[in-house]
Amino acid sequence: MILSHRDYVKERKFSADVVVVGTGAGGAVAGAELAAAGRDVLFIEEGSWFSTDSFNPYSTESVPRLYRDAAATVIFGTPPIPYVEGRCVGGSTTINGGMAYRPPARVLEEWSEVAPDLGERALEPLFERVEKVVHVGAQLPESIGEDNRIMTEGARKMGWSYTVNQRNQEACVGANNCGLGCPTGAKQSTLVSYMPKAMKSGARCLTELRVQKLLIEGGRAVGVVARAIDPETRKLGVEVVVRARAVVVACGAVQTPFLLLQHKLGRPSRQLGKNFLCHPNAKVLAVYPRDVQAWRGVSQSAQIRHFHEDGILMAENFVSPSILGAYLPVHGDLAWELMQRYNQMVLSGVLVEDSSSGTVSRGFLGTPYVRYDITPLDHQRFLRGVRLLAEMHFAMGADYVVLPFFNQHVARSVDELAKIDELQRHPSTLELFTPHLMGTARMGARPEASVVDLSGQVWDLPGLYVADASLFPTAIGVNPQITIMALATRVAERLELARAAA
């Protein structure tokens, strides 16, 4: 059963064994596992359920359909960092690039110090399980675009190691529309993998509902109160109440603490909303003297991992003209001059593993307030990463590169890159972006140091579980979806065990 806003006029009360808030990498996986174990699962999703064949390359319609707040979301700090999250069935897995990486061994070693349950050996079977469901593997060679060839050839030329990406895809032919929904169904987002599996096991899904608060009775979470969203006016309408024996919150590292903070949870450690991590990215756009047509072929077929131990990752990630248009550093005829060479562009990025953390709190008038500042170490990592990536593009014959600094947008030669150190003395000149939000309800073995226990249950509210990227004890330095899926599987298993014991 899949319902949308118009159905709640008639039906406003539901009950289930487990209510799962969110259908992304965390919620869909936890819900599907519980449904497969015979539990009556009910999903609540703020966005709508869109079918694969409705996805198109037009951002003016796709972004409002698929992204939270039409992607007008920002992390405050120095510098401010725009971030994006999915708001549709499948969550951010519907709009991500489809990278499917496990965390590096050194990260899992660090996690095992928090609890052995979070170590490599304990998580191995979970990774294997989710990788099988979402078909993790390398791309078909014919799906790889010319821009990726330039990147890998460039890495080889510079003597850098690179890794062929593992992606959650099945027969991906390189449509390169990942960010606006995969129109071929190849990308195994939870929309086409875990959610159908859950529905097959009898789960129900209430879409176009925003959860407003938790229902707490006798010191236990017993459900949620949500309100329907009118798709035409975007106003909140009728109230819907869902009662359940357990509540799983999987709304992402911003919305999950935002919901939980309302109930003043996380008291034992006061860590709820803290430890916000976001893997900030900086874009380096290279313009070549020849046609590349980077939009023809899969985005991100490989990553340059030569500097990964230093917390720097580099990759290609080409986007449609309208998404690129949103990040142009110029306007008017200069923007046109630049975009006339759209077919000659290669868009690449530098991802930096956080060396510090930020916070999520409840801001004015019902908005989450996210605060994060770049540290001097990360600033230096960005300067180094951008310079290296730009040097690689020049080595590959780029005419010029567009840099992510508001006071130094163009470099036409390697010599001009030397000015980076001179001009970029403060992080405020950086132009960053992020799709990876993590770590605001960290998992742990001790209530005084974490928000949830090792089964994902909130220490100070029995019956309430978290199953999303909020659980991460530290940043992982790679794309997080597979790790979220593995931890959500763990949460479902332990919740199921707890229910069976009860």
Binding site: M1, I2, L3, S4, D7, S48, W49, F50, S51, T52, D53, S54, N56, P57, T60, E61, V63, P64, D69, A70, A72, P79, E170, A171, V173, A175, P183, T184, G185, A186, Q188, L191, V192, S193, P196, M199, K200, G202, P231, T233, R234, W295, S320, P321, S322, G325, A326, L328, H331, G332, D333, A335, W336, M339, Q340, N343, F364, G366, T367, F406
Partner: protein
């Protein structure tokens, strides 16, 4: 496995109000029952400023630049505003108002931005975006990002820059169908293949 329609048929669907796309091509507005929200209500003054900003931020001829195209850009910006958090949408409106008054507030001109003319407005926005004040920079970057994103999503602009996504995506979709199709069954007639 990847076909959610098949799953709906199998699942215990009691009532399905889910819109299922009937689009046979790659449509800008898929016919799946989904409605785009109403454009965000803006008053005359805010619309006048937004229009002046659109004319300035978007390229001029020979780039596609008709009044009808600018109408569409304006409409898309207002649609986007409807999907923003109400506080962010209100903030965007305030941003438009502040930009309109910016020439006076910065002692650049006695005229407001909407009356400044394209060239002068462009210079002023350029100065603001490279200036010392991060607040002003953020105002311009926010409006510029939204306007240029809508502009570079238009068909005539796609054609002008050589981006043809629909035939490409259609071809890739067909290619994947072929890849996943079962191998053809051999037919033998009278012992002759």
């Amino acid at each position: 496995m990847s076909d959610e329609h098949g799953v709906f048929e199998d699942s215990r669907v009691q009532r399905k109000s889910l819109p299922v796309s009937t689009a046979d091509g790659i449509a800008r507005h898929p016919r799946d029952g989904w409605k785009l929200a109403r454009p965000y209500p803006l008053g005359t003054r805010a619309r006048r400023t937004l229009r002046a900003l659109i004319v300035t931020l978007c390229p001029s001829a020979p780039a596609p630049s008709s009044p009808e195209l600018f109408d569409r850009v304006e409409l898309h910006v207002r649609h986007f505003m409807s999907y923003m958090h109400p506080l962010a949408a209100r903030g965007f409106w305030l941003c438009l108002m502040l930009l309109d008054w910016a020439p006076r507030l910065l002692f650049v001109s006695v005229k407001r931005l909407h009356a400044l003319g394209r060239k002068r407005t462009s210079e002023l926005l350029g100065e603001m975006v490279h200036g010392r004040f991060s607040f002003l920079r953020t105002l311009v970057v926010a409006v510029r990002g939204l306007v240029l994103s809508a502009y570079f999503d238009q068909e005539e602009v796609h054609r002008a820059i050589g981006y043809r996504p629909v035939p490409f995506l259609t071809e890739r979709r067909d290619r994947r169908r072929l890849l996943l199709a079962p191998p053809p069954v051999e037919v033998r007639v009278g012992g002759v293949r």
